[in-house]
């Protein structure tokens, strides 16, 4: 029969252009250190570098030292942790859904956490951080679970569109419930504020400690999933043919996303677009190979959030913008760029 000239399989040019992983990571770590330092120095009041160092090493209770060690240090650390977690979660989401626009918030984590937390505070009067964090993560987990299960039911199975639609439906419902609660109890808005927009204000070591187990679990799970997810990128059928348990892999990845993103939301509220923008930037630097990609996402995410927080703190000083707004403003151009380059698959 006719032997039509077959189109050669396109070698991902990104892989050829990719910078070596370790190099990028070292660069990233350096950037992180610089940005973290800036985060400790800058703010409503500027603290000089030597003072920052002495605050960390020889704390003496002076106002500057207090600002650095008790206010800014936790913010920077939590910001880094949240940024890293969201970056990795975003990369995982984009891998599961094979959609460059996928975001952890699609799994309903933001509103799930918000509903659980606001509900807990309004209805049950729960107020302590130690209790709120697990509650928020629980809410995020339940929302994520419901969405994944619903999207996976039926003959079609878990396709990206179904996941996104299920996510939109459930998020809409949860958002409505939160809004209903806010209307029923008008004082609760003060409480609900921090769940409506991401903010690093009031970041504390207690909260971090409470969220740590989930974040660690999510990270470990992600590491275990690198191999199966890389194969999954070839398509469900091909992956299955190669022996990957596709359903299990996708489910486990969703769990990892919920743990990482849920933990982040519990710590800092919904900070969107980090999970969307960071994987794209990382991919442009190191290519599609999942292992270096995830690590680069973590570093870039941390840098992005800390940087956004610095700007949020200085831009309208002495007022503070929520960090979520800043990341949205940074992420939007990335979104545009992604779309213009036509990276979107049908």
């Amino acid at each position: 029969m006719s032997s039509s000239p077959s189109t050669p399989i396109e070698i991902t040019r990104a892989a050829e252009r990719a910078l070596p992983g370790p190099f990028v990571l070292m660069l990233g770590a350096a950037a992180l250190a610089v940005v973290a330092g800036a985060g400790l120095m800058l703010g409503a009041s500027t603290v000089s570098a030597p003072q920052v160092v002495s605050a960390l090493t020889a704390f003496d209770g002076s106002p500057e030292h207090v600002t650095v060690a008790d206010v800014r240090l936790p913010r920077v650390v939590v910001g880094a942790v949240v940024g890293a977690s969201l970056g990795v979660a975003g990369a995982l989401m984009q891998a599961i859904t094979r959609n460059p626009l996928a975001e952890p918030s699609l799994l309903g984590v933001s509103w799930g956490a918000a509903l659980a937390a606001v509900g807990g505070q309004v209805v049950a009067g729960i107020g302590t951080t130690a209790a709120l964090v697990p509650l928020a993560i629980g809410g995020a987990a339940i929302a994520g679970l419901v969405i994944v299960v619903l999207a996976a039911t039926g003959r079609a199975g878990l396709t990206p569109e179904r996941l996104i639609v299920a996510g939109a439906a459930v998020s809409g419902l949860l958002a409505a419930l939160v809004q209903g609660l806010l209307v029923l109890d008008s004082e609760s808005l003060e409480v609900a504020r921090r769940w409506l927009a991401g903010s690093l204000t009031g970041a504390s070591w207690d909260a971090l400690a409470a969220a740590a187990p989930y974040l660690v679990a999510g990270t470990v799970l992600s590491a275990c999933l690198i191999r199966p997810l890389s194969t999954l990128a070839l398509g469900d059928d091909v992956a299955r043919g190669l022996g990957v348990r596709t359903g299990l892999t996708k489910g486990a990845a969703a769990v990892a996303v919920v743990a990482l993103a849920g933990g982040s939301v519990a710590l800092a509220g919904p900070i969107i677009l980090v999970g969307l923008a960071v994987p794209h930037a990382a991919r442009a630097l190191v290519g599609r190979d999942l292992a270096p990609l995830l690590m680069t996402c973590a570093v870039l995410g941390a840098v992005l959030v800390i940087l956004s927080d610095i700007v949020a703190r200085i831009a309208v000083a002495p007022e503070e913008l929520p960090v979520g707004v800043m990341t949205a403003l940074v992420g939007a151009p990335v979104l545009l760029h992604v779309a213009r380059r036509g990276v979107m698959s049908g």
Binding site: M1, S2, S3, S4, P5, T7
Partner: protein, 269 residues
């Protein structure tokens, strides 16, 4: 009713797929475009049907540049059925075929007797009158294709362009569709231009074959004249033997070599 292409350059944004192509579609005949995958045959058809704007050159409909005519005007003279069209859920055959009257309706004009007559004759010509109230997506492949052809017919045009009308159909339906197309040409004198994948089908049903390779016309003419072993080798990259079609006495191609000849079959215990 004339349709010509002059010095056509066609592409999808990158390098041109077709360059400097000239073609004249013979009025009242069935012209079939053939070629290997990515030879440009669908691209050419789409340009002829004004679905693709040429990067250079012109497509002339009745001597006028097709790009200068309004979409409605073109639709009144030329109907095009793209490859693999999808009907929305729960759309009935009648509703689908009625769409064919779009170009003949004005903003506030009601459904006229003319429209009704065209609808009825389109249904009858394609043998879909008794399927009229059934949803399109519940029909078999062959029935569905006939419904789409009926829609194109309802446009009441002299010229009908079809992009691979028989792909995805089983053999019986392929034959039925091709026979229908032949009938539309024989009975109503419609000019048909279609892209066919199967060279033997083209040999049977075409008055005029245009063979494309890598965006250029390699051969054009009546099937007995241009279907030669050399042409097939050039266009399709395969060696064939041409024999006489026992039904039409036209050319029939069969691949020349195969592992499966009795002499060459490995000995089986």
């Amino acid at each position: 009713m004339t349709l010509d292409a002059h010095d056509l350059v066609l592409g999808y944004g990158g390098a041109p797929v077709i360059e400097g192509l000239n073609l004249q579609i013979t009025h009242g005949q069935i012209t079939v475009l053939v070629g290997a995958n990515a030879s440009g045959k669908s691209t050419l058809l789409r340009a002829l049907g004004r679905l693709l704007r040429p990067q250079a050159g012109d497509v002339l409909l009745d001597g006028k540049a097709i790009a200068s005519l309004s979409t409605r005007e073109v639709a009144r003279r030329l109907a095009i059925l793209p490859q693999g069209p999808v009907a929305p859920e729960a759309l009935t055959v009648r509703q689908l075929v009625a769409q064919g009257r779009y170009a003949h309706q004005r903003l506030l004009r009601r459904w006229s007797a003319d429209d009704e007559a065209s609808l009825a004759s389109a249904l009858e010509a394609t043998g879909t009158s008794d399927l009229a109230s059934r949803p399109v997506d519940e029909l078999s492949g062959g029935q569905r294709q006939r419904a789409w052809i009926a829609m194109a017919l309802a446009q009441q045009t002299d010229l009908l362009l079809l992009d691979e009308p028989t792909t995805y159909l089983d053999l019986a339906h392929q034959v039925a569709i091709l026979e229908l197309i032949a009938q539309l040409n024989a009975r109503d004198g419609r000019t048909i231009v279609m892209v066919l994948h199967d060279l033997n089908q083209a040999a049977r049903y075409a008055d005029h074959i245009v063979a494309l390779r890598q965006g250029a016309i390699v051969a054009a003419g009546p099937p007995p004249q241009i279907i030669t072993e050399a042409m097939v080798r050039t266009v399709f990259d395969v060696d064939v033997r041409i024999i006489e079609d026992p039904v039409t006495a036209g050319p029939l191609c069969v691949p020349a070599t195969t592992l499966r000849t009795p002499a060459l079959q490995p000995h089986r215990p």
